[in-house]
Symmetry: C2
Subunit: 229 residues, 2 copies
DNA sequence: CAAATACTGCGATCGCTGTTCTCAGTAATA
DNA sequence: TATTACTGAGAACAGCGATCGCAGTATTTG
């Protein structure tokens, strides 16, 4: 009756009555993450995950109500890879910048995070992450709602930069060249002079190479603007 | 031979030889957008689009090589709804803020834009948008790569705020209450004291109500930080 | 101890998806 | 007129998420 729109984590992992399950949610999640890391989110189908575990698709539904549940589990599992161990300095900008760096690293390690069909519901690890971010923000005089919004914007920056860095990684030698040429092909000289110009210049310079440094600078600048001194 | 990784727009809409096509890409795109606006991206299947047009799924492949092509067409079509008509003031921050506002309005009108499986390749309208943004940035002394990155970040802010505004719209009377309660349910009092506190305060105050105003403030602040005076 | 109960594994199957094959029909070209 | 290049669309294929039903098993209850 109340099992609609419940997160995975609110449902018990196993009942108390029958035979012990042969697998755990953690195992299934690990298998799914392995598939996603190797072959993308497309490869995370109930059938392929089941095959990876040596069972049938139907069996997985004993552990997970829907595929989206599995995706939630995956997202929360890798959220656990974000390093929350570093001691807080008391400077919200600095502490959040460090946190964002760690979060971005996780995104680079698991590119499929950017392709999730919907914002994953946050599980235990996600909650720990949020709590940590709020703790870092505590020294500021921001009201609670603004704190939440700040964390949201920080996450947005993380995904934004992770996206561009991954995009840049995928065009190996000359970054953006593939994309640039396809852009240039359709940019009309007279209709889009600035795009053409920007692309021409972009292939000359490499000032835009170190996107991570840009990320660090950007995050600090944005946070500084948002958090009262 | 060269028809792989080509955008839809590089392929001719029709050949020169046979009978005239009974439909146009624009018609198909319009039908798909109608479906997406009404029932979400899920409803945009080749079958349902075909049914909407009174034909079979296979016929659509005369107009479009793949479903992703259709999604590109949809994205570019609504990109055309972004207002580029307002004259530029010469102040990049102001002009880009106005542009971002219009872009966000389009996102609110077509929520499925946020759920596209991958960044859409930009077509004619997307190019016009980019060109317009670059023109607004022209008075600044930013180098070209930084201009591109600024536009990228602006787009990120647009999608970020569109997401939160849409999320807020979906929980009607007491914004965020549904989300908040499900959050609170799993937030452990001793493990996540700040989340609990933030949620408690959040239901009292309504300082966070006008997200659009927050958006405008935020965009201007971020842009001001990025664009040299 | 035995009966009832609540669970697990999973083959079979449903309805749906994107996409391709194939072929009849049509219009422009040679 | 013959050739060529196109269009429409029914049929079909592989893969998808999800459900049903049943055999088997461990725990609880009488």
């Amino acid at each position: 009756m109340a099992d609609e729109s419940m997160t995975v984590w609110e449902r018990p992992e196993r009942g108390t009555r029958g035979p012990a399950p042969e697998r755990t949610r953690a195992q299934i999640t690990a298998a799914a993450i392995e598939l996603a890391d190797a072959n993308g989110l497309r490869a995370v189908s109930m059938r392929q995950v089941a095959k990876q575990l040596g069972t049938g698709p139907a069996s997985l539904y004993r552990y997970v109500a829907t595929r989206d549940d599995l995706l939630d589990l995956m997202a929360d599992a890798v959220a656990g890879e974000i390093d929350l161990g570093a001691p807080l300095s008391g400077d919200p900008v600095e502490d959040l910048a460090v946190l964002a760096g760690s979060a971005k690293r996780v995104h680079l390690r698991h590119p499929w995070l950017l392709h999730l069909p919907s914002e994953p519901r946050l599980g235990p690890n996600g909650m720990d992450y949020l709590e940590h971010a709020l703790r870092a923000l505590a020294p500021s005089s921001l009201p609670y709602p603004a704190q939440m919004e700040t964390v949201g914007l920080l996450n947005g920056l993380v995904t934004l930069f992770a996206r561009t860095e991954l995009h840049r990684l995928s065009s190996p030698t000359d970054p953006q060249r593939a994309h640039a040429t396809s852009l240039a092909a359709n940019a009309t000289e007279e209709r889009h002079p600035r795009i053409v110009a920007a692309l021409a210049k972009a292939s000359d310079t490499d000032a835009h190479q170190d996107t991570h440094a840009l990320f660090e600078r950007m995050v600090r600048r944005v946070l500084t603007g948002l958090i009262p001194g």
